[in-house]
Amino acid sequence: MAVDYTFPEGSARTAAAQQEAAEHMSISMGPSHPSTHGVLRLQLDIDGEIVTRADPVIGYLHRGDEKIAENMTYNQFVPYTDRLDYLGPLSNNIAYAMAVEKLAGVEVPPRGQATRVIAAELSRISSHLVGLGAFGIDVGAWTIFLYTFTEREKLYRLFEELTGARFTTSYTRIGGASRDIPEGWLGRVDAFCDQFLPILDEILGLLTRNRIFLDRTEGVGVISRADAIAYGLTGPNLRASGVPLDLRKDRPYCGYEQYEFDVPVGTKGDSYDRYLCRGEEMKQSVRIIKQAVKAFPGGDWFARDARRIFAPPKDRVLTSIEELIQNFMIVTEGPKMPPGEVYFEAENPKGILGFYVVSRGGGVPWRLKIRSPSFCNLSILPKTCVGAMFTDIVAILGSFDFVMGECDR
């Protein structure tokens, strides 16, 4: 809107029009911003303090994962899945491996599945800890961040023992994993869970009935149930709006049906509900892990009958010609997948991560589409942010707990 910025003598009307024009601002929030959780840019039009239009601009971390997948074998793509939701990489690894295993018609035996469940739940705890920490720090509570990152360090130690890396684990392979669990690891996981619950109560106690936190998050960013489904929201964001969809219970995979756990579902769909859902989910994850550790089966940890898909054990490769050739083919050409299409969804910490794999045979997919939960969660921002105060945007973004690595791929 064109406004004349000169002040004619004594003209109050122009000054008032000036004032009004100055209150309508167009602000670009991001892509480098402490509260945008990565490289998200929000083009906001604000009228005073109220946001009148919000247009998220994403793609600042688009690295071309789907194109890369068309040039990599199935196993070579596993490190790229780590870097999708880089706050809980193990769950991405697991979701991807299960998608491709579904395509191949291969199932990992119970020991492998139990390992995957424990790994996925640990990574859920890890991801929610960052979500809470970042949410807290965005609305002004520094301490939460330090507490949650200390707990994450303990988790990193467990991940490093299992996979070799603190995070960006690249743990799974098609048909199994890179290695079996180390000796004594289950005991350490159990010990972590035991000491984690009181600390989690302490962390949540800092925020749950905190007057300032309640003022900042209650009633902020309300998403109705219908909107949540229409916009494709998943994960804690969807459950906080009252839709009890959790793939671990509703479409169980990887042996989740044997474990007993509850799924927290919210009522109002505001930021506070989303926070509560994540907090409670961590407690339920601990419950699952303890059950899995207690009932941990023996046996194989990889699909022994998946001959052209999972590389044989190294000692066989180095001594037997047939296994050597098999290993060679799997490494150079990739695991032999039948032609077909498969779409597998897993309940990741951020929401439902789906992999749509189109294979024309061979070791390299023809098309790999990554259905990213953060991409869909963010698409509701233009609707949610309008009408909110400018400072509430930060609380809304924090409560969504998205990660741009996943959103942009």
Binding site: S32, Y60, R63, G64, R83, T150, E153, M404
Partner: protein
Amino acid sequence: MASHHNELSYDSKIEGDVVVSRLDAVINWIRTNSVWPMPMGLACCAIELMGSGGSRFDIARFGAEVMRFSPRQADCMIVSGTVTYKMAPQVRRLYDQMPAPKWVIAMGACASSGGMYRSYATLQGVDRILPVDVYLSGCPPRPEALLDALVKLQQKIRREPAASRLFRA
């Protein structure tokens, strides 16, 4: 006596309450021990950056825990994460907005050279648009590695001829 090595050492000759030293040494000592990073936290390396700011690795020991997201208040831009072509202009703009003296740490494989993302959308190393002082490898580098890079940067800062550039930036 002041040493004539490359590295300026903080030698002082104390006479009563007066400390005599070289201007370079003093300026560099000040700059070294309060490098305020601007975390250009783009991807996974940012999480390790946050981890190094956390309690276990504690970047505050090196004077660098004041992570300023405003470039005007920061000394060192730590580019942590993949720089895409879409993001590259913003990184350069923010670097331009930093007041001198300023340094850049390219943290991780993606910032140093594009990393494992050799694709159409990824800038193959942030040194194509910024002058980088310290390259740090790793995917992601451990927080200890980041602290090592910071120490190396501090050693580099200590060698600078700061006094001659003081009014020239």
